[in-house]
């Protein structure tokens, strides 16, 4: 190493060595910072994950990430307002961001068992495509998803209400473009999603059967699987590709009032997150402050042997930066690991079951996963940086104004 480099790196190296001379003190600071980082990551992971599960619940169970229908259908969801043709499908599928396009035929119907009858809203689907735009096939708790015409999948609570078991036949009656029609369908699967409207109201039939029943030969809408978070943008980009009389609606438009509820919840979450960050920052600040104040005597000694106050202040700053960065890195590793665990295993579901029951209608279901985002590292870093900065300012000024002789006599 050249002389200049040695001189330039002297302070950092000194700072680093200092850290390890006071191992326990350093570890404490590292621990506090790591803890603050971990809790920040988890807090945001849980909050975002909760919001996400509401959105996913709606997008993937009740509705669709994006839906192409006639504007008349949007106002009046009846097979009478179905799509005039499905010719535009290949163009839509070719659009960037669109991962799958599944035609759907939804219609009001009466479902009958040998014991009772109930009014439902049935959905005719293409079994293979539907799995790509909806989580319903994955939520089938008993039996399997439909494969061919003549089969039906029901929500578990609906099946209980009708007193119908797997393998039994139910009758679906409807009256649309072809007049009153009825079909007997075999129950092949039962859906249990933890989302009340889904479990109470799902009736999935093959789109062929739906066409026979309603007399509509196309579909009432095309559900799209698009890149998450890009729904609105892609829906708009689709407009030019669609025929004159069709529109693409994204999730926020489909949800209506619910999306503004989510929006306001986001802002309140931010507020709580800020409070949380403040608390974490305070913890860091006090730790740094305490550990720096402790070494007043030591600084006095260093001042006496020739270290100028500015350099001393710089060294203290460096030590703090190193220690907090270490803590932040450690916190990131542990925090993201924990977050990953909670994002893939349904750890939170039972814990949130209490909120889940109350928010059941919003579509959270029994499974709650945390969200993952590099942003959380940023939140944590900001919190800690601010805290550390603040916590250095005070002792740094002290250090600058240090009188070595006095300092050495401190206890």
């Amino acid at each position: 190493m050249t002389v200049q480099t040695r001189v330039a790196t002297a302070l950092p190296r000194l700072a680093w060595r200092n850290l390890w001379r006071h191992r326990r003190r350093t570890w404490l600071l590292v621990l506090v910072v790591a803890y603050a980082t971990i809790t920040t990551i988890l807090f945001w992971g849980v909050q975002d994950g909760f919001t996400q599960s509401v959105q996913v619940g709606n997008a993937r169970f009740l509705s669709a990430p994006a839906l192409i229908t006639t504007p008349q259908y949007f106002e009046d969801p009846d097979p009478e307002q179905g799509l005039p043709s499905l010719d535009f499908l290949p163009r839509v599928e070719a659009q960037p961001g669109v991962k799958a396009a599944a035609p759907r035929l939804e219609f009001p119907a009466l479902i009958r068992s040998a014991y009772t009858a109930d009014a439902v809203r049935a959905r005719g689907v293409d079994p293979l495509l539907e799995a790509r735009v909806s989580n319903l096939p994955g939520a089938i708790a008993q039996g399997r998803m439909l494969e061919q015409p003549g089969e039906v999948v029901l929500g578990q609570q609906l099946a209980e209400r009708l007193d119908v078991r797997l393998g039994e036949r139910v009758v679906l009656d409807t009256s649309a473009l072809a007049g009153p029609q009825a079909l007997g369908l075999r129950v092949v699967g039962l859906v249990a999603s933890g989302i009340a409207p889904v479990d109470r109201g799902t009736v999935l039939v093959h789109i062929q059967d739906a066409r026979v029943l309603t007399g509509l030969q196309t579909a009432t809408g095309v559900a799209l699987d698009v890149t998450r978070g890009q729904e609105a943008r892609i829906a708009e980009a689709l407009q030019p590709v669609l025929p004159e009389n069709l529109r693409a609606y994204d999730l926020t438009q489909l949800l209506g009032g619910l999306s503004s509820a989510i929006g306001t919840k986001q802002s309140s979450t931010f507020l709580i997150g800020m409070i949380f960050s403040l608390f974490a920052a305070l913890a860091v600040t006090s730790t740094v402050l305490v550990s720096v104040l402790e070494r007043t005597r030591e600084f006095g000694m260093m001042g006496a042997i020739g270290m100028t106050p500015p350099r001393l202040a710089a060294m203290v700053t460096l030590e703090t930066v190193f220690a907090t960065s270490l803590g932040w890195a450690l916190g990131l590793v542990l925090g993201y690991a924990l977050n990953y665990w909670m994002a893939t295993q349904n750890v939170l579901g039972p814990v949130f079951a209490s909120y889940g029951a109350a928010w059941e209608i919003l579509g959270t279901g029994g499974e709650i996963y945390t969200a993952q985002s590099p942003l959380y590292a940023l939140y944590a870093a900001l919190t800690i940086a601010l805290a550390a900065l603040f916590s250095i300012l005070i002792p740094a000024r002290r250090v600058l104004a240090l009188n070595p002789a006095e300092a050495m006599r401190t206890e």
Binding site: R24, R121, G257
Partner: protein, 410 residues
């Protein structure tokens, strides 16, 4: 002990700023936990209030109503008489409701729906309007011509405000059919419910399907806190005796047991959050105690050389920690309680959630409230933190070699 206490206290005061900061941290943890707990208490109360506002605390129904299918079997005859009887025995607000499965038709389209006719006191009516009315108005009391429909139902029937609505309810005891005017549109969180909902005044529904009868009578008590729910038990038993044969009084918990579970499950959530806050504070306390120990190593060495045993040293460390935590807890707790008391008159969450919150069952006004065990638990956390944080430094202190310690330089 006296010596140890004053010794510990003096130790703390020797490093005023450090002690203050740490105690402050503990105090902050206590403060935040109490405030958070009171928020949760408020949410619990809010959910409770919302739920009981929509279904009542107690309901009078026909015996075995869940298994009955025929409309006539579900009827409570002479509903007004039953209500009057109950009115003599309780101050609770009473809602009389009649549910009629019926066919609802517009000009060209018709759908099967569930018609509800009810009569509610003004506050409950106002609340219903706030939560569910989107456009127009709810049919007035005694209105025989107005009807309100779920938005989705009105859309499906292609109806707009002012249009005539035809209702057909065969096999019932009243007129069996009637024409109304659409006066209001309603929204419900569950789209399936919205597509099958229609509202009439009680008088109109009775005239249509069952003169003088109802399918349920709800009793709404002026409770605002979940804790008050315990009073229902004896009231329920007493009022049940008033009812005639064939009728049953059911509590809201019996009517929807799944939702009743919410309240039992809120606690774990609280404890987790509290643990998070106290974890942070605990680390701080640990930090402080340990540092102070390190500083006084020589001094401790002297004390041990003078005859203090490991037990005494441990006790000193633990006592310091506890003193730190409890003083912080007292101040933080005091401030927290002050804040909660100030806000317990109720403040509005509208700023945060907007009106949409109301539609989804979130309380609009928050009444912060602490439950009986909230304070002891929080203080318990604080003390536990103090004890835990002291454990390790105490061990270190107890195992000090006096001679080594006296030579120690920080």
């Amino acid at each position: 002990m006296f010596n140890l206490l004053s010794l510990s206290w003096r130790n703390l005061w020797r490093h005023r700023s450090r002690s203050l900061m740490t105690a402050g941290a503990v105090g902050l943890a206590v403060f935040f936990t109490l405030v958070y707990l009171s928020f949760l208490g408020a949410m619990e109360n809010g959910i409770y209030n919302n739920l009981t506002a929509s279904v009542g605390h107690l309901q009078v129904r026909v015996e075995g109503y869940r298994d009955k299918r025929e409309f006539r079997d579900l009827l409570i005859p002479d509903a007004a008489g039953v209500e009057a009887q109950l009115a003599q025995k309780t101050q609770a607000a009473r809602v009389i409701a009649l549910e009629v499965p019926a066919l609802i038709a517009g000009e060209t389209r018709s759908r099967g729906a569930l018609l509800l006719g009810d009569q509610r006191p003004p506050e409950l009516r106002q609340r219903f309007i706030q939560q569910h009315l989107v456009e127009g108005a709810l049919p007035a009391v005694g209105d025989l011509e107005g009807i309100a429909l779920g938005q989705a139902l009105a859309k499906a029937l292609k109806l707009r405000l002012g249009d005539p609505v035809y209702v057909y309810a065969p096999g019932t005891l009243g007129r069996g059919a009637a024409a109304y005017r659409l006066v209001g549109l309603l929204r419900f969180p569950d789209p399936a419910v919205e597509a099958r909902s229609a509202y009439l005044s009680l008088a109109a529904a009775q005239e249509l399907a069952a003169p003088g009868s109802a399918t349920r009578i709800e009793l709404h008590f002026p409770f605002t806190r979940y804790a008050q729910d315990a009073q229902l038990g004896p009231i329920q038993a007493q009022l049940s005796q008033q009812l005639g044969p064939g009728l049953r009084l059911e509590s809201w918990k019996e009517a929807s047991p799944a939702i009743a579970q919410i309240f039992d499950l809120l606690t774990p959530l609280v404890l987790i959050f509290a643990a998070l806050f106290f974890g942070l504070a605990g680390l701080l306390v640990l930090n402080t105690i340990y540092l102070s120990l390190l500083e006084r190593t020589r001094e401790l060495g002297v004390i041990v050389a003078l005859g203090a045993g490991p037990a005494q040293v441990t006790r000193m460390v633990v006592l310091e920690s506890l003193l730190l935590c409890s003083s912080g807890a007292l101040v933080g707790g005091g401030l927290g309680l002050l804040l909660i008391a100030a806000l317990s008159g109720g403040f509005s969450l509208e700023a945060l959630y907007g009106e949409v919150g109301g539609a989804f069952g979130l309380p609009e006004t928050i009444y912060l409230s602490l439950r009986a065990w909230d304070i002891p638990i929080t203080l318990g956390f604080a003390l536990a933190t103090g004890l835990l944080a002291a454990w390790w430094p105490a061990r270190v202190a107890a195992s000090l070699e006096p001679v080594e310690a006296m030579r120690f330089t920080a």
